[in-house]
């Protein structure tokens, strides 16, 4: 049995059970006279999800033929990617688009030990061009960042 293959459906079963608890807490309006209320659809989906996951787990338990997957779920690059994207989203909140993107692009290129100066130039040009295009062509304001706002205040 491959534990990895039953992990996801097991987690989703837990989430569905938690969802069912929250659904039971939904308020019911006094004026409602329909047979199908606000709880019906989410309940049906959560129950359906549990049934699907149950069958997936059952299928994996009964499947003795397929080889177990020994490859790690994440390698160091995908782990870096996940941390990088969360880090970028957080940094952009504090520093704004311009500084956060320059910083993140630099960190990314350093992580991959890129020595090609052309790549660093691309990073700067990309950051500036996107900032200019969004601000002056599409009139979309990119995040200024909490720090910049505090400095202006």
């Amino acid at each position: 049995m491959n534990v990895k293959k039953i992990l996801l459906p097991s987690v989703i079963i837990v989430i569905s059970v938690v969802a069912l608890y929250f659904i039971s807490q939904f308020s019911v309006p006094n004026f409602q006279d329909a047979s199908v209320g606000s709880k019906f659809f989410p309940t049906a989906i959560a129950v359906l999800q549990i049934i699907i996951c149950f069958f997936i787990i059952l299928g994996e338990l009964l499947d003795t033929e397929s080889e177990s997957d020994s490859a790690p779920f994440l390698n160091k690059y995908s782990l870096f990617g996940a941390v990088f994207i969360i880090g970028y989203a957080t940094t952009i909140y504090f520093l704004g688009y311009f500084l956060a993107t320059l910083l993140a692009f630099g960190v990314y290129l350093l992580f991959f030990r890129t020595k090609n100066l052309y790549y660093y130039l691309v990073a700067i040009v990309f950051t500036v061009v996107i900032y200019y295009v969004f601000a002056n062509v599409f009139y979309v304001a990119l995040p200024e960042g909490l720090l910049t706002e505090l400095l202006y205040d």
């Binding site: 329909a34 997936i56 995908s78 870096f80 994207i85 979309v140 990119l142």
Partner: protein
Amino acid sequence: MIDHLFNGLLTALSFDILPILIFGVVGGITLGAMPGLTATMGVAILLPFTFGMDSTAALVMLIGVYIGGIYGGSIAAILLNTPGTPASAASVLDGYTLTKKGQAARALSISAISSFSGGFISTVLLILFAPILANFALRFNAPEYFALALFGLTIICSISGSNLLKGLLAGSIGLLVSTVGLDPITSVPRFTFGMMDLYSGISIIPVLIGLFALSEALTQLESVVTEKKQTLRNFSLKMLSRKDLKEITPTAVKSGVLGTVIGSVPGAGADISSFVCYNEAKRASKTPEEFGNGSIKGLSAAEAGNNGVTGGALVPLLTLGVPGDAVTAVLLGALVIQGLTPGPLLFTHNPEVVYNIFSSMLVANIVMLIVGLIGIRFFCKIIEIPRILMIPIIMFLSVIGAYSINNSMFDIGVAVFFGLLGFTLLKCRVPLSPILIAMILGPMAETNLRKSLLMYENSWSFLYDRPIALFFLVLTALSIYSAVKFSQKKKKAAA
């Protein structure tokens, strides 16, 4: 209709719109040519660039990206034996063999002409049949829309591949996510946890950016270090001859029509179409043994077949408001952002928008042909762009794209969350398209079911009282049955 179409053509060819269309087509070809970057991802990434545009310019650009992206996928398939998109997998069979023979330019020019043929025929058929279907759909009321949404949800079964249960699991995740926010009938808050950002529900755009752009970028990152530098074989720049053109024309036309029909069936995308058209061309050929050994008819069938889907897939989207595949689901998001509601009323309330889309598709196919033929040398260079540089660019564009919709940091969080969720699900071999399709059709099904029950005073008789609703319910049952049979057949074949 002719007036609207003529005005649409004038708009598409105007100095304001044509450069945007060319930018979209070139952008689509560029993204599609890079292995791993699909047309869906291309439309998702470039979607934020359209927020500040008016509706015509925005839709024209995305249509250009869509058409260019499907064609662009073939460039990597033909030159590197690596399909740029799943839709171009069939093009590898004969395209790469031609490249190995030093005839890459001939293969690419055949690909451009066949893609144009498929896309153009498909658009003409869309223009002819979509208004008729939309006119018929005007008779729909809540029960019909509920049955239609239910039928639309069965797309999930057909796009789940061999693992139906995992596709259904993805669909159920999308349905559950779609219930977040205020209840559509009674406005009861559901799964909002007191957060104001959740009261209006989870916006589709950051979800699709997360699922199709961020998760794909994370997946690509895993292999980016181990990949070798893409190097091209030497090839002659001689394009197709008149004899080649004469030989491929009947195949390209037939595959274009077949691709349109396949594309108009919800759930059957460009990848299925290209293989079906390839097999059909092989079956009808007097020399089937040439297929797989550099047959220009084989390449032409695959290319016309996958571009034939572009018009067909827009039939259910524009006439019924039901996306047939992931890329049309993204286009639906674009329409909604522009304040338009796809469906039969779009033809009545905004005919100029519909005919602008039609006209821009015609022009986009012509632009694709010209750019495809002129730019063969340039597009060969695209596939040499290092992915290590493209991945952070995709990530940054995804994040700022998610932000730009509502200038909301919350939407960045949503995109990142769904990016990580999508990455995890891909690792577990759970398809992502069902999540998006369920998120779009879930609220449509729920709202119309509850409206129908109110109309019929809590009786479920609307399911069999109304012929159109009944027709869709029968189609739903047939669709589920065929998907289960297909899944079993695929599993047996794999075993």
